[in-house]
Symmetry: C2
Subunit: 130 residues, 2 copies
DNA sequence: GTCCATGCAAACGATTTGCATGCGT
DNA sequence: ACGCATGCAAATCGTTTGCATGGAC
């Protein structure tokens, strides 16, 4: 993983300690929900506000530094933006695993002009839970 | 499309006029958000409550008569449950189109025990908007 | 007649906003 | 010094709940 600091280099976003800690936390967990970011960052910044976490998440999404995923029956989670990939979600423990997308799934739909993005979620039980 | 009435046959759900109209509305539009169901049904039942729409949607999801989809940047929409398929979402007009899934996309992920469900969203511009 | 459904209002959880103060640049 | 960021409280949005009345069966 690249240096977290560099992620903000070509943006107008300032490198505040709170913001950097939010990014480090997301990087550490891979996929994490807002509340869990908040609770983790609060250990280092007890006075941080949930609103600050939300504002940061939105600013970082705006800059495409973060991506939001929203699997069924689970609260939205965030990850550092990487190259496109799918998400396997364990129905039991809720853990999210990345996987590589085969360049398949090309639909034969004549209403489509061009495809600019995709999301693939798979659901099941992970080996740890079995 | 099968008869809307029959959808409720093997359930404990009663065939109330409001419920049937909700189902007909979803069937008519293919994919539709709660608010839009509410506004459409209100033309026939001016006194219907948004809460009633929500309660019906939840009951019908419970019975697997409805499926929920939740593409990025769009409010949740509902459709009559059909066999598994993907959704193409136009970024401009928001319209959702079904497409057939090729049985591909099998991830090589050793954490997976077995796969029980999937969701595939594609995003782009539809020909109408181009 | 029973039980579920409806409709209203209130409650709720998640997210956003406004504003005064603080801090990175 | 300027402008964005933070933190707090209040506001907002989508959704759910409780309860009394009404309607399907």
């Amino acid at each position: 993983m690249q240096n977290i600091q560099n992620l903000l280099d070509n943006t107008s976003l300032k490198k505040t300690p709170q913001r950097l800690t939010i990014l480090k936390t997301i990087d550490k967990y891979g996929h994490i929900a807002i509340e869990d970011i908040y609770n983790e960052v609060k250990e280092q910044f007890p006075s941080i506000s949930l609103a600050t976490v939300y504002k940061n998440i939105n600013a970082l999404k705006e800059e495409n530094i973060l991506s939001e995923i929203h699997p069924k029956d689970v609260k939205p989670k965030f990850e550092i933006t990487k190259k496109p990939h799918g998400h396997f979600v364990c129905k039991k423990c809720g853990e999210v695993y990345d996987f590589e997308l085969q360049n398949s799934c090309q639909p034969s739909l004549d209403v489509i002009d061009n495809i600019e993005g995709s999301e693939v979620y798979l659901y099941g039980i992970c080996k740890k839970c079995k």
